[in-house]
């Protein structure tokens, strides 16, 4: 309390040579590209050394949905996994394969060629979101343990990374 008083007196005695204020400017930008997980994926285990999302092998394809309200403003980049985020201890290498394709669209005329016009680099697939609306992308992922060894028992988790990049 005393410190406060002293500070107040000092302020009264000091001549005000210059005054300056900073006026804040705030704003918020609402994303016009929203990504949602439509269907979480599941690895099937057709043999001891393979984990795959292929439905024929007991897996479930992960599906993500992009909702875009501004056309020609974003790229959708989807990267299939190249490692497990959690798994039992693995002593050998894991070979990864994966791909992404358009599953569904909400506008046939303007989104029908997304799949044709996609570009792929490494495990990443990029789509040019040229129209407003919703697009569903499904990915497939397979992991093969080195030397056809059996995967150790346990739970395995991997992530498909989906991002929206402004053009």
């Amino acid at each position: 309390m005393i410190k406060k008083i002293l500070l107040t007196c000092t302020a009264l005695l000091v001549p005000t040579l210059a005054l300056a204020e900073n006026a804040p400017i705030t704003g918020s930008v609402q994303s016009r590209c929203v990504i949602s997980v439509d269907t979480p994926g599941v690895y099937g285990n057709p043999n001891a050394y393979t984990l795959t999302t292929a439905p024929s092998d007991g897996g479930v394809l992960p599906i993500v949905r992009y909702d875009v309200t501004l056309a020609d403003a974003y790229y959708a980049q989807i990267t299939t996994p190249t490692e497990f985020s959690s798994s039992p201890s693995l002593s050998d290498t894991v070979t990864w394969t994966g791909s992404t394709e358009v599953s569904s669209v909400s506008d046939a005329a303007n989104m029908g060629d997304y799949e044709t016009n996609k570009t792929t680099f490494g495990e990443t697939t990029q789509y040019d979101l040229t129209a407003t609306g919703s697009t569903w992308f499904k990915s497939s992922s397979s992991a093969t343990y080195g030397g056809n060894k059996a995967f150790p028992g346990g739970n395995y988790t991997a992530y498909v990374e989906a991002v929206c990049i402004a053009q």
């Binding site: 599953s103 669209v105 909400s106 046939a108 029908g112 044709t116 919703s134 569903w136």
Partner: protein, 291 residues
């Protein structure tokens, strides 16, 4: 304290929402009668559909999904999916189509998926979203706005009077039949007499009413005449009073006794004695013995 507006709706009359099963499950055309549920007050507010297009990447295919307008020409809604060259077969489309509300149920004609061009649709799924207002008919529930308490049906009771004379099973002798006919004649005569008496009473009543009205008129006229006379007399009386003038001043006693002596009235004294005698005779008479 906050008061929320509330409506006295029971749960049974709350509007509820629902969706139909897949209308395209049996093919690419369907009748709405077999798709929509039965309750009245149903209002379709949207359509969800999806299908997978089968086509070559270089082909152009047009797909139309819609419902005809059963009450006229054209369509209630018709969505056009244009699959241009470059679009891959195997791609699914998912759409939510809003529909103008309050379209009568009867207006929803045949639904269809039409494909134009070298292609086809696979796994079509068309679902209608709807809202049902149970109080569309206010008589559905007493809690519905506009509910009118129905009038109970009035039973028309016809009472048949049993007439033994008309009964085939009643066997009457000729004497009894004659007696019945005579009784009927007597009854008819009595009814005629009663009717005549009633008519007579009515005529008398009307005459009496007419006479009463004439008497009343005469009485009123007499009263008016008397009132007129009274008013005329009152004028005369009033005028005579007004013409009288009372002179002012002091009115002194003008009767004077000359000798200051008043003589006895002998006639009065005699009368007083006679009254006294009569009084005593009357009193003593009540003590006399009755013979």
């Amino acid at each position: 304290m906050v008061f929320w507006p509330s409506y006295c709706y029971s749960d049974s009359i709350q509007p509820y929402y629902g969706t139909t099963p897949n209308a395209a499950a049996g093919g690419n055309t369907w009748s709405m009668n077999s798709i929509l549920p039965t309750p009245p007050g149903l209002d379709i507010n949207g359509v969800i559909y999806n299908y997978t297009i089968n086509k070559d990447v270089n082909d152009h295919v047009d797909v139309y999904v819609g419902n005809e307008n059963a009450n006229g020409t054209g369509y209630i809604f018709r969505e056009h999916d244009e699959w241009k060259p470059g679009s891959l077969g195997g791609t699914e489309i998912r759409k939510v189509v809003p529909v103008i509300p309050n379209i009568p149920r009867a207006a929803w004609g045949q639904g269809s998926i039409e494909v134009e061009g070298p292609g086809s649709v696979e796994d079509p799924n068309v679902v209608y979203m709807y809202k049902v207002d149970p109080c569309f008919d206010p008589q559905y529930d007493p809690n519905c706005p506009g509910y009118v308490v129905p009038m109970p049906p009035i039973v028309d009771v016809t009472i048949e009077i049993y007439d033994a004379t008309q009964d085939e099973n009643v066997k009457l002798t000729s004497e009894e039949l004659v007696l019945i006919e005579e009784n009927e004649q007597v009854l008819e005569e009595k009814e005629e007499e009663e009717e005549e008496e009633n008519e007579k009473r009515k005529r008398e009543y009307r005459l009496q009413a007419l006479a009463d009205s004439q008497n009343a008129a005469m009485l009123v006229a007499e009263n008016i005449r008397i009132q007129t006379m009274n008013q005329a007399m009152q004028v005369l009386v009033t005028n005579s009073y007004l013409q009288t003038s009372i002179p002012g001043g002091v009115y002194k006693e003008n009767i004077q006794l000359v000798d200051t002596k008043i003589n006895d009235n002998k006639k009065g004294l005699r009368n007083g004695f006679a009254q006294q005698i009569l009084h005593e005779l009357m009193i003593s008479s009540q003590y006399e013995e009755k013979q």
